[in-house]
């Protein structure tokens, strides 16, 4: 679903890497131009359902304009100290075809990575960003053996291939680092309709989207030289597309919840400029046994119960009630920390949350991640 976020990253990263500082308004207009340009037509497009083949589809799809490997998770150390993490690697194609050149540095592929740690008990949120071209080994993605990396941040298969994915993830910045062994507890689920996730009514404005919603994660988190042995659950989102933006869209709220009954719920709500929810908002419910069920927009009710105003401007929702009557599911969702805003080249909020509620009569709880975009940009021009 995060096509738009991806596009935004690309455009703004380009500006960050390669231009004068410009007001946010200028960025948005350039962004719109980029994402609505005809150049998109030459890229491969997600127009019809396809057959997903693993592990092949864990690897890159360079003909599409953008793609990402999106890991989030909630971890605890032996003493019960609570952590959240995000490690996302984005791939962008700057042009539909790889340019011919005698130099190995020449490429149309660019990689960007975001890494964040939420130290709930320490009340801290740390984030970092990396860029590299997808050439000469500086960054890239390979299906077999699986590896995607930007510099020394990477997600890669570990050990011999088995029936389930067994990966390792590692990233570090000056003051914080993570190294996790990840074991998939479920098989990939296809979001949307057989993995085709429609973004707007226009054909081809869609992405291919699958998730592995439950991983066992164990390893270490290092903060300021102090290392914590942690374990918990992680979630992988994989998506690729060449989608353009709907010009009437403002941003979205994305929820990924791992409930303690063994089920997971993913739902994204596209917000229009007028504040209403886009009808193409949708989700997936994954049963404890791994079977997936598509959730349409009208199957899910979301109410904002609290807000948080960023010191840098922009007011984000900071508490929700989420109800899925068809599943008899009612949840109250709360961030473990109010400030989990990333000051990467695009400012957005992506943070660990707690969920409590009931399914039918039975109480149910869980943990997860929420992503909120388009709120920072909503700051009036001139800020």
């Amino acid at each position: 679903m995060r096509a738009r976020l991806a596009g935004l990253f690309l455009a703004v990263s380009a500006i960050a890497v390669f231009a004068e500082d410009e007001p946010a308004g200028a960025r948005r207009s350039e962004l719109a131009e980029l994402l609505q340009s005809d150049e998109g037509a030459a890229f491969a497009r997600a127009t019809a359902a396809r057959e997903f083949v693993f592990p092949h589809d864990h690897g890159p799809h360079p003909g599409y304009r953008n793609e990402w490997w999106y890991f989030t998770g909630n971890l605890t150390d032996g003493a019960g100290r609570r952590f959240g993490f995000e490690l996302t690697i984005f791939r962008f194609a700057l042009a539909p075809d790889a340019p011919a050149s005698p130099s190995a540095w020449r490429t149309n592929q660019v990689y960007i990575a975001h890494f964040a740690i939420t130290d709930a008990d320490g009340g801290r949120f740390l984030a970092a960003e990396r860029f590299a071209r997808g050439a000469v080994g500086l960054a890239g993605a390979v299906a077999e053996p699986f590896r995607v990396w930007v510099g020394d941040w990477q997600i890669a298969a570990r050990g011999a291939p088995g029936s389930r994915e067994r990966w390792r993830l590692s990233a570090n910045d000056e003051d914080f680092a993570i190294a996790l062994d990840l074991d998939a507890l479920k098989t990939p689920v296809l979001n949307g309709v057989d993995g085709l996730s429609q973004k707007s009514a226009e054909s081809g404005n869609a992405s291919y989207y699958y998730s592995i919603t439950r991983w066992d994660a164990a390893g270490t988190i290092t903060l300021d030289g102090e290392t914590f042995a942690v374990d918990g659950l992680a979630w992988l989102d994989r998506e690729w597309s060449s989608s353009a933006l709907g010009s009437d869209q403002q941003g979205w709220d994305w929820f990924a919840l791992q409930l303690d009954d063994g089920s997971e719920l993913m739902f994204y709500q596209l917000r229009r400029l007028d504040g209403s929810a886009d009808p193409l908002s949708a989700g997936t419910w994954v049963a404890p046994d791994g079977r997936a069920r598509h959730l349409a927009r009208d199957e899910v009710d979301i109410e904002v119960t609290a807000t948080w105003t960023s010191p840098a401007g922009g007011t984000y929702p900071a508490g929700w009630t989420l109800a899925v009557p068809s599943l008899a599911l009612e949840l109250a969702i709360e961030p473990v920390l109010a400030d989990q805003e990333l000051f990467t080249t695009v400012r957005y909020w992506e943070g660990a949350v707690d969920a409590t509620g009931r399914q039918g009569a039975a109480p149910v709880g869980g943990r997860g991640y929420v992503e909120l975009t388009g709120y920072a940009d909503a700051v009036p021009a001139g800020r």
């Binding site: 690309l10 455009a11 380009a14 500006i15 890497v17 390669f18 231009a19 004068e20 410009e22 350039e30 131009e33 980029l34 700057l94 042009a95 340019p99 050149s101 005698p102 130099s103 190995a104 540095w105 020449r106 490429t107 149309n108 660019v110 860029f131 590299a132 071209r133 050439a135 000469v136 080994g137 500086l138 990396w149 510099g151 020394d152 570090n172």
Partner: protein, 836 residues
């Protein structure tokens, strides 16, 4: 009091504006030359440092490799495996765009942010949509960014396609944006992929820029430990410094020449101030009678000189700025030819340069006024100082002055003997020699003219006799004029002899070195591999030598490694100054090298020494088998045989070849054949040895054009000095001259006498200049050049230089004497006699 007195004097000066003009010229030209040279030097240096600063950015260190650069895998390993950030790869080179040489900076924009900011901070104006620029820069071969000023100079707008010549090949480029960075003139920023493709450097980096934390000592050691043995980590500031230092000797020499102009100007000031004091001897006498003390008179004269010096210095500074702008082009040209690329468009007007000029001007004015001030203070009340009194006093002083001169000359010789290799000490010795000889000149002139007067009298009658004996009689004036002219002419002799000797040595050396018949190479690049073999197989080619000019760099700076694929014929091209017995057998097979004479001088090595060089497999020892002659300005060169090079370095490139033709083959036909072979592959520079020799000498001559300019200026000052001296003499002796007229000398005869007098002054100056000039030439050749560049030059003094410079001195003196002669001839005797 002093104020009133100065005002009285001011009135006098207003009535004699040309005197002011003379001080202005003396101080002004001297100051102007000093300021101009200082500004030109400082601007060239500043422009270089600024561009290095811009290029270096935040990098504290740089990883450099061997002649073939660094394997790009090293960079990838540092980033991906070692996880090191704050490093940026660079592929550099030079291209020609519309005849202009641009430095190419090939970068990875993703790695730039922690090292350089300008490369990715584009102007909003004239730059297409930022994200398109970014995409184009990365994906479009030839996409380039220029400083807005450079783009304007090349008449390029964003979106324009243009051609660049890289290593002899024409490549397409497109301007995708501009930046407004200081120090980025003539810098073409492209993606690293573009740079690799243009320069045929696939897989290689020129260097890796590194930003290490300043406070952590271990960081450097840890980083260095992660590097392979064929690379080394150097301080960025140190690299800039050692590059800048290459031109130090050149700039020091220029500064010395500018001081010479001021030194000559000093004589002029002396003349002018003495003159104005003399003219006012009546006024000063009255003042003394009115109770003005000697000390006050002394102070007035000095204060006046200071005032005038200040004004003149200010004017000189203004002129110097103007002159500096013109000089800068010459300085930059010389630096570009020999040291490093520097783009200077504007003179950077440094306060320090201007202050130096003003201080030098005022100092010179005071120094020049000192003796006249003492003179003036010695005037007795109401008693016009008789000429004879002054001359007697001068006569008494002469032995002391001459002794001081002799001591200075001896001190200069001593200084040369004990100062080892110091260039500054060598230049100091030159100045001491000049001053010393200058101090000896008046006595010599006095004696000489006293002896010569009867001779002239016998040959030319009473007028000639008077003309010559008057020189001795007016020694306090004429002596100084002769010294000024002698110094200027001696400098001309010294530099001419030096340049001629140098040129002769270079010409001989070129003849010997260029042993092949035809040379083919690429400007700033290497020959396409296929061409080398094709050239060898060209009909008419009997043998072929190859050359590769590689660079080795360590903390001490860059050293040229010249790699020779020799054939027996090319041995004659190496003039060995000293060598081991086995030099040629060892050269091709063992780990031995030859070193250039300047290299040997600078690094204090000789036959049998062992050099440690960083090869592809780390440090290795090479025995020096001989020292060869070289006048190349990048003279610190090491000569290695191709086979030895290939054993130690992975770099098969050949930059140029020398072709030895079969007997009777026309070089032009072979050149045409070679050009046909290279057609479409590479644009080559192919030429016969004769043309190369001529071209080299043309460059040589161009380099010394700047010295010519400075010496003409010095000579101009000297001529004005003679003019001033003659006018002063006339003024003092107006009554004598009037009497001569009254007793029947015609205006024509009087004019002839004065012209003859100046001609003899010129002759004396020319004669004095011969020993001084020869001594200067020796100092310049054996002391200054050796210390500055390490060259050994055979000194050759042609009689025609000595003869022509003496004639020149006479001519200059006669020219300077024409106006005074005319003035004297047309003056009304009655008025002159009444003056007193």
């Amino acid at each position: 009091m002093a104020r009133t007195l100065i005002r009285a004097n001011a009135g006098f000066l207003a009535r004699h504006p040309w005197q002011l003009a003379m001080v202005f010229l003396g101080v002004g030209i001297g100051v102007a030359v000093i300021v101009a040279v200082d500004l030109a030097n400082a601007s060239a240096r500043k422009a270089f440092l600024l561009s290095m600063d811009t290029l270096t950015g935040q990098a504290t260190h740089q990883v450099v490799g061997g002649p073939a650069g660094i394997d790009e895998a090293v960079y990838v390993r540092l980033r991906v495996e070692e996880g090191i950030g704050a490093i940026a790869p660079v592929v550099e080179g030079y291209v020609e765009v519309s005849g202009r040489t641009l430095r190419v900076l090939g970068i990875d924009p993703f790695a730039e942010q922690e090292i350089r900011s300008f490369t990715t901070r584009l102007d909003e104006e004239g730059t297409a949509e930022a994200e398109n620029v970014f995409a184009a820069f990365l994906t479009r071969p030839g996409a380039a960014v220029l400083a807005a000023t450079t783009a304007a100079r090349l008449d390029l707008a964003t979106g324009d396609e243009f051609e660049v010549i890289a290593a002899g090949r024409a490549e397409r480029a497109v301007l995708v944006g501009t930046y407004a960075a200081a120090g980025a003139d003539d810098l073409l920023t492209v993606d690293i992929a573009t740079a690799q493709a243009w320069f045929g450097r696939e897989g290689r980096l020129s260097r890796i820029d590194v930003r290490l934390p300043a406070d952590e000592d271990g960081a450097k050691a840890r980083f260095a430990a992660a590097l392979p043995s064929d690379t080394t980590l150097l301080s960025a500031a140190g690299r800039t410094q050692s590059t800048a230092d290459m031109s130090n000797a050149f700039m020091t020499n220029l500064t010395a020449m500018s001081l010479l102009a001021l030194l000559v100007g000093l004589f002029l000031i002396y003349n002018s101030v003495s003159f104005s004091v003399l003219q006012r001897r009546g006024l000063i006498g009255v003042l003394r009678a009115l109770g003005v003390t000697r000390a006050q008179v002394f102070r007035i004269v000095l204060a006046e000189a200071e005032q005038r010096g200040l004004v003149a210095a200010a004017a000189g500074v203004a002129f110097g700025v103007w002159l500096g702008e013109r000089l800068l082009a010459l300085v930059a040209q010389s630096i570009n030819d020999f040291y490093f690329r520097v783009t200077v468009t504007d003179v950077a007007i440094g306060g320090l340069s201007l202050a130096k000029g003003v201080a030098a001007g005022v100092g010179a004015a005071l120094a020049g006024a000192l003796v006249p001030a003492v003179e003036a203070a010695g005037f007795r009340p109401r008693l016009a100082l008789a000429r004879s009194v002054l001359e007697r006093r001068t006569g008494n002083l002469l032995p002391v002055v001459t002794a001081a001169g002799v001591i200075l000359v001896l001190a200069a010789i001593l200084l040369v003997a004990v100062s080892g290799r110091s260039l500054v000490a060598g230049l100091t010795a030159v100045f001491m020699l000049i001053l010393g000889v200058a101090l000896c000149v008046p006595l010599a002139v006095g004696r000489l003219s006293a002896r010569a007067a009867p001779l002239f009298g016998r040959a030319g009658g009473v007028i000639a006799r008077l003309a010559v004996s008057d020189i001795a009689a007016g020694l306090s004036r004429t002596g100084v004029a002769i010294v000024a002219l002698a110094v200027a002419v001696a400098a001309t002799i010294g530099v001419s002899v030096m340049v001629d000797s140098f040129r002769g040595s270079v010409a001989d050396w070129l003849t010997g070195t260029l042993s092949a018949d035809v040379y083919a190479g690429v400007e700033r690049g290497s020959l396409a591999p296929g061409l080398v073999a094709a050239f060898r197989a060209t009909p008419g080619v009997a043998a072929m030598s190859t050359t590769r000019r590689a660079w080795l760099e360590d903390e001490g700076g860059r050293t040229e490694l010249r790699v020779l694929g020799m054939v027996p014929e090319s041995r004659t091209g190496i003039e060995l100054l000293e060598a081991a017995d086995d030099v040629w057998t060892a050269f091709g097979n063992a780990d031995v090298v030859l070193v250039s004479e300047p290299y040997a001088y600078r690094n204090r090595v000789g036959t049998g020494s062992v050099l440690s060089l960083r090869t592809g497999a780390g440090e290795a020892g090479f025995r020096v088998a001989g020292v060869y002659q070289s006048y190349d300005i990048n003279a610190s060169a090491i000569l290695m045989s191709r086979s030895t090079y290939d054993r130690h370095f992975d770099d098969p490139r050949v930059d140029s070849v020398g072709l030895y033709l079969e007997p009777g083959i026309d070089p032009d036909r072979v050149i045409a054949a070679l050009e046909a072979l290279a057609e479409g592959t590479q644009e080559l520079v192919i030429d016969s040895n004769r043309n190369i020799r001529e071209l080299s000498l043309a460059i040589f001559d161009r380099t010394f054009r700047i010295t010519d300019v400075l010496y003409w200026l010095a000579l101009g000052v000297a001529m004005i000095g003679i003019l001033g001296a003659m006018l002063a003499l006339q003024l003092e002796r107006a009554r004598d001259l009037a009497i001569l007229r009254a007793v029947g000398m015609t205006p024509r005869q009087l004019g002839a006498m004065i012209v003859l007098q100046t001609a003899v002054i010129g002759l004396f100056a020319g004669l004095a200049a011969i020993p001084l000039g020869t001594a200067m030439a020796w100092l310049l050749i054996d002391v200054i050049n050796r210390r500055a560049f390490g060259w050994q030059i055979d000194m050759s003094v042609g009689p025609e230089i000595l003869l022509s410079s003496t004639l020149f001195a006479i001519l200059a003196a006669v020219l300077a004497g024409l106006y005074p002669a005319r003035r004297a001839a047309t003056s009304v005797p009655a008025l002159a006699m009444r003056e007193e």
